[in-house]
């Protein structure tokens, strides 16, 4: 399963590097979200600082949808969809590989957004380990849930419009816990922030396990 996951992740990442859709579309989109919301809030520094964690995670959430749509699109052709089913790769390995590829892209995106938030909103992270732990756990949850719902919508003609409706409500706990934990990391309140990790950990574990179990049947149904 792990060998299969590495193979699929390598393939997806290579395709993303070649197509540069992540670089030229997803990253600019996420930065645009930051800038537009900053414009909407106005020049008040205190308001911007308070809103920074929420805006950061909203940008990550929207970008997750784009990344997952792209991940689904890679396998959307009739030939490639059948090819992957006939490849001999364990469906759990496919799920883990695709989630790993999406997760890695989201981590890179978060580094860019972190820099953006620092300059645009004039904020500084005081508890770095908390911010990193939050990002890692949230990324596992976002990528797992995203790829799972991506598989659910994969065979549908309306998948591009349906996926955000399906997945955004499901990702709401990550938005909430991520924003609160990041707020604590900005405020230097580690103990308060660590409480929110208790939401992110089960979210990540549950969607990881459910994805491993259900990806195969969902792939067949699609």
């Amino acid at each position: 399963m792990w060998r299969d996951a590495a193979l699929v992740a390598g393939k997806d990442l290579r395709i993303e590097l070649r197509s540069r859709i992540g670089l030229w579309q997803v990253v600019p989109f996420a930065v645009l979200v930051l800038v537009l919301v900053a414009f909407a809030i106005g020049p008040d520094t205190a308001s911007l600082r308070n809103a920074a964690p929420g805006i950061f995670w909203i940008a990550v959430l929207f970008s997750t949808v784009l990344s997952v749509q792209r991940s689904v699109a890679i396998e959307s052709g009739e030939g490639t969809r059948d090819g992957l089913r006939l490849s001999g790769i364990d469906p759990a390995g496919i799920f883990l590989g695709k989630a790993a590829a999406v997760g890695l892209q989201l981590l890179v995106l978060q580094i860019v957004l972190w820099v953006g938030v620092t300059f645009l909103f004039n904020v500084r992270v005081h508890v770095v380990w908390l911010a990193i732990a939050t990002s890692l756990l949230a990324t596992v949850g976002l990528a797992s849930a995203g790829v799972l719902y991506g598989a659910l919508s994969a065979g549908l003609r309306v998948r591009d419009t349906l996926l955000p409706i399906l997945v955004l409500p499901v990702l709401a706990p990550v938005l909430l816990a991520g924003s609160k934990a990041w707020q604590s990391a900005l405020d230097g309140n580690a103990s308060s922030g660590a409480e929110w990790l208790r939401i992110l950990i089960p979210f990540a574990v549950i969607y990881l396990v459910v994805g491993i179990v259900l990806y195969g049947p969902l792939q067949e149904a699609a």
Binding site: R3, L7, K11, I15, G79, R85
Partner: protein, 242 residues
């Protein structure tokens, strides 16, 4: 020896639609069976069912000893399907596509190299992204992946489509080599002139059933026949007897 494919009154559904409506078919090791029929006769569905892509809902269906009525997915890694659409990633090169197909089975990446050369995918073609290849070249890449995986059952859905004359001849040679290696081939076609000469047996489908069966026209592959020198073409004029 048990047949590679053994169907008795097999019914397979594509969604709610009965794609196969009671198929009786047996394919032996080393046999090439050509499936003819009009559009919608069930040829593609038969191949997809054999590949484990369509579930068999009633009747008996065994492929390579796997009972498709209980688990239609287990057979997939042992068959090779060349469908209408080539299973290629447009952003990966021809070599990367073949390497991915080979490594997915746990075979060494080197296994794909010979197949790429065999299909003439060398030089610039090897490193060209699949999305920039012509339809015929994409078909050759898909064939290279199939050859490299060395499946026990080849399922070829209109394999001559999009291929030029030399590639069609090469396809015939590859089929000959595969059956000589002990594989079985099930080939659907709208071009009996090209496919029947490759076959041991021809079956005709209509309405999701086998409606007719007759002997094929397989002869030894041209490359297996001794060359004959034709005096008036000089020393370079080696010809094969067909």
């Amino acid at each position: 020896m048990a047949p590679v494919v053994q169907f008795r009154a097999a019914v397979a559904l594509a969604g709610r639609f009965p794609a196969l409506a009671g198929v009786d078919l047996s394919v032996q090791t080393g046999e090439v069976v050509v499936v003819l029929g009009a559009n919608g006769a069930g040829k593609t569905s038969l191949l997809r069912t054999c590949a484990g892509l369509l579930p068999v809902t009633s009747g008996e269906a065994q492929v390579l000893g796997v009972d498709l009525t209980t688990d239609h997915t287990a057979v997939r890694r042992h068959v090779g399907l060349l469908g209408h659409a080539a299973p290629l990633y447009d952003d990966l090169s021809a070599a990367e596509n073949v390497r991915f197909a080979v490594r997915a089975l746990g075979l060494p990446a080197a296994a794909g190299e010979g197949a790429l050369e065999r299909l003439g995918l060398v030089g610039r073609l090897r490193s060209t992204p699949a999305g920039r290849l012509s339809a015929g070249q994409r078909r050759r890449v898909a064939l290279a992946a199939l050859v490299a995986r060395r499946p026990a059952l080849w399922l070829l859905d209109e394999p001559h489509a999009g291929l030029d004359a030399s590639s069609r001849q090469l396809l015939g040679e590859l089929i000959g080599e595969a059956v000589a290696d002990g594989a079985a081939v099930l080939l659907s076609s709208h071009e009996p002139g090209l496919s029947v000469p490759l076959s041991d047996r021809v079956v005709v489908m209509g309405g999701g059933r086998i409606t007719d069966a007759r002997p094929g026209g397989r002869r030894p592959p041209l490359s297996a026949l001794p060359p004959v020198e034709v005096p008036d073409r000089g020393t370079t004029g080696a010809w094969h007897v067909a």
